[in-house]
Amino acid sequence: MERQQGNIAVEAIPLYLGQGVREKAEQVSAQEGVSLVEFVSAAVTEKLDRLEHFNWARNRKTPTPESIAAALQLLRRPSSYPPDPEDELPEGWNPRSS
């Protein structure tokens, strides 16, 4: 059955845990002050995040002097846009010192 939890639709699923795993999970979730359901949900989210991070890290491209120079040139391209409020350079900042 699907229901809303904040802005997120959540769905209940049957979940079978080995007795030892369940007891340990109940113990740790109680120590953390969350329900077993919240604990399991957070554990699944963290596992997915780790897998996605691993794939991202493995597939990242290596920077080259050319790719870095191109990005710097783009970043430093002159424009007429003023800085955001509170993004001013320090007083007396010399562009050459950057």
Partner: protein, 143 residues
Amino acid sequence: MRIVLDTTVLISALRSEKGAAAVVLGMALERRFVLLMDYRIACEYRDVALREQHVERSRFSFEEILQIIAELERIAEEVDIEVRHRPLSFDPGDDLILDAAINGLCDVIVTSNLRHIAGPAELFGIEAMNAGAFLTRMRTGGS
């Protein structure tokens, strides 16, 4: 020095090349410090920077923003998030910045959102400062 750049700094750097944030981003690309990042931060950068209102307010096209973020991803040191301390901040977007900082043994979080990030960061011995203050630190010998 090991640095995490909050998304607010990226957004300001995309807005103008005349501000402190753009200078800090340039230093990151020049690898004047170690930029720390994980997959969730890379997603957050794209998610926020490519929102219509931010693209409109920036000086770049959609594709140019992607190019800059892709280069930041290339030069960054990846951080494996082994431990997530909760609760940390009021905003999940801030939590992922703090997670990377804590797990990546970060020295400084550069952010425009000191109100939400400075307190939790301090608990872990991490300084939080805006881009201008960070440049002052670098100028006075931080490395």
